[in-house]
């Protein structure tokens, strides 16, 4: 049970950390100033959530661990984030599309985690849900405007949606850790979230005049530590300074 809780905490924390790191790449490169600020804000929200969760993971692992040690001194196979979050950002439409698919899931997940029997996870959820609700609204509004925008924006965002679709299923595929956490009243019921997710996605894709991809085959592995080749590049950029100067202080 302790082992499962530790891995569950890392999964939540790594999702926030890796997505925050990916989104931070947009800082200074947004299509307009306002969106540059918006996305950097969202990146910082995720980093804040990652800190709380990795801190909790460090507490569970024992005294020699800290949030920084966990973030900067683990290798690819020790990361437990969803694969979709480590993929390259692509163009603005692809970034929005990934945000929408994940934010919608994350919103239902954290809504359920508000009832978690684990006190720390529950209090992280109470703080994070306000941010996550905004993220989900923001990316849905954007998807509607890109999908129902110009011919070019529609075509590009539809093609991103088709590309990303096979990476969406991992969010809802429970494994032994998810099941143990559900049973303990700590984690969320991914099957129930899947239904709510599909309802919401159908509703927004309809408004966005986008077609829902039909593919049913889904990628998996990130939660268990099997990653794409992209994660190595994310970690290299994120970790190289602390690894060069492990004792460095601000």
């Amino acid at each position: 049970m302790n082992k499962e809780l530790q891995e569950y905490t890392l999964r939540l924390g790594d999702n926030a950390l890796i997505l925050g790191q990916r989104l931070a790449e947009w800082c200074g490169h947004g299509p307009v100033l306002e969106q540059d600020i918006a996305l950097s804000n969202i990146a910082l929200d995720h980093l804040g959530q990652a800190r709380m969760l990795l801190n909790y993971a460090a507490e569970q692992k024992g005294e020699e661990f800290t949030e920084d040690k966990i973030a900067f001194f683990r290798d690819i196979f020790e990361y437990h984030n969803l694969l979709i979050l480590e993929l390259e950002n692509g163009d603005w439409g692809k970034t929005i599309c990934r945000q929408f698919l994940f934010d919608t899931f994350n919103y239902f997940l954290y809504t359920d985690l508000l009832q978690s029997k684990d006190e720390t996870i529950r209090s992280v959820a109470q703080k994070a849900i306000k941010e996550i609700s905004y993220h989900a609204q923001w990316s849905a509004e954007w998807l509607i405007r890109l999908g129902d925008g110009t011919d070019e924006s529609h075509e590009r965002v539809q093609s991103s949606l088709n590309d990303l679709w096979e990476w969406s299923g991992e969010m809802f595929t429970p494994d032994a850790v998810d099941e143990a956490m559900l049973e303990a009243g700590i984690g969320a019921d991914l099957n129930a979230i899947k239904e709510r997710w599909h309802q919401k996605v159908d509703q927004i894709l309809d408004l966005a005049k986008l077609d829902k991809p039909a593919g049913e085959w889904m990628q998996s592995g990130g939660k268990q530590g099997d990653h794409t080749e992209y994660l190595g590049f994310v970690l290299a950029e994120m970790q190289h300074i602390p690894r060069m100067h492990p004792e460095a202080k601000w």
Partner: protein, 96 residues
């Protein structure tokens, strides 16, 4: 996306506390009113500056012309009696 062609400019007004007026804080680009509110939230209230946001399309603002500033504003300059400072305020009222 050519933002200059299809994104309007919006004027942003923020109410910082209950009981205060919305105050003009600046302007921004957005494709429509709802996104303008979201952009305003991100650009102007990141440091807890506000509890309410108004956005108005900039082209809906009618401004006075600088050429008219003399007839509009200078006549008020020598009419200090329009300030309510010529009354004795009884002590019991305190600060007004």
């Amino acid at each position: 996306m050519s933002t200059k062609d299809n994104w309007k400019i919006w004027e942003v007004f923020i109410r910082s506390r209950n009981g205060l007026n919305h105050k003009h804080v600046g302007s921004l680009h957005a494709p429509d009113a709802e996104m303008a509110v979201k952009n305003a939230r991100d650009v102007y209230t990141r440091r807890s500056e506000g509890i309410s946001i108004w956005v108005v399309p900039s082209d809906a603002v009618t401004a006075s012309s600088p050429d008219e500033s003399e007839p509009l504003f200078t006549p008020a300059d020598d009419k200090v009696y329009r300030h309510p400072t010529f009354y004795e305020i009884p002590d019991e009222i305190g600060h007004m």
